[in-house]
C-alpha cells in the first residue's frame, strides 16, 4: 500500500505548522520519496530530534506504508 506525495506533505504540515515541505517522488511507485522539511521549530534541536519530529508527524506510516523517505531537515534562512 503506497502513499501519495500530497498526503505526506499534509501530515507533516499538520504537526509542523508553517513548515516548508518539498516532496520528490523518487521512483513514481508511491513508496520511495525524498522530503526536504524547512521549519523554524527545528532551531536548537539535533538532527535526530528534527527527523524524529517528522517521523512522528507521519503517525506510524514511516517504515510501514511508507517504505523509504530520504529525509533532509533544515532551518529557514
Amino acid at each position: 500500500m503506497a502513499m501519495i506525495a500530497g498526503e505526506i506533505e499534509k501530515l507533516i504540515k499538520e504537526d509542523l505548522p508553517g513548515a516548508d515541505v518539498r516532496i520528490e517522488d523518487l521512483r513514481g511507485d508511491g513508496d520511495h520519496y525524498a522530503a526536504h522539511v524547512i521549519y523554524e521549530g527545528f532551531r536548537g534541536l539535533s538532527r535526530i530530534k528534527q527527523h524524529q519530529m517528522v517521523y512522528k508527524s507521519l503517525k506510524g506510516r514511516m517504515g510501514g506504508e511508507l517504505h523509504a523517505l530520504a529525509l533532509q531537515t533544515s532551518l529557514p534562512d
Binding site: 538532527r47 535526530i48 527527523h51 524524529q52 517521523y55 506510524g60 514511516m62 517504515g63 523509504a68 530520504a70 529525509l71 533532509q72
Partner: protein, 110 residues
C-alpha cells in the same frame, strides 16, 4: 527501568563494541540499499564495526525501533549512543562530521 526485555540485549550489544550497526543483511550481503550505504561508509571511513542482521532476529528488528524511538533500519550506534540512520550518516559523512566523530573518539584505524 527496561520494560521491554529486548532492551537489555540491545543495551549489551551497543555497549559491548564501540561502533555497532543494526542492518538488513550483512556488509558482504546487504539486503537493503540503505543498510548497504551505511556499511560502505563505515568501511570507507576506516573504522572497525560490529553488525547485527535484523532480518535474522525479529525481536531486535522491532525492539531497536522502540529503543531509539527511530522507525527504520539501519541504525548506527557509537559508544552506546544512537547516531542516526542512513540519511543522517550520509549527511555527516559528506560534511566530514562522521570522520571527526570517529577521530575524536579514537576509533579511526591507523
Amino acid at each position: 527501568m527496561s520494560e521491554n526485555p529486548v532492551f537489555d540485549r540491545i543495551k549489551d550489544y551497543v555497549t559491548k563494541d564501540d561502533v555497532v550497526l543494526f542492518m538488513k543483511g550483512t556488509p558482504i550481503f546487504p539486503q537493503c540499499g540503505f543498510s548497504s550505504v551505511v556499511s560502505q561508509v563505515l568501511q570507507h571511513v576506516g573504522v572497525d564495526f560490529e553488525t547485527y542482521n535484523v532480518l535474522e532476529d525479529m525481536d531486535i528488528r522491532d525492539g531497536i525501533k522502540a529503543y531509539s524511538d527511530w522507525p527504520t533500519i539501519p541504525q548506527l550506534y557509537v559508544k552506546g549512543e544512537f547516531v542516526g540512520g542512513c540519511d543522517i550518516i550520509k549527511e555527516m559523512f559528506e560534511s566530514g562530521e562522521l570522520q571527526q566523530l570517529f577521530a575524536d573518539s579514537g576509533l579511526t584505524k591507523q
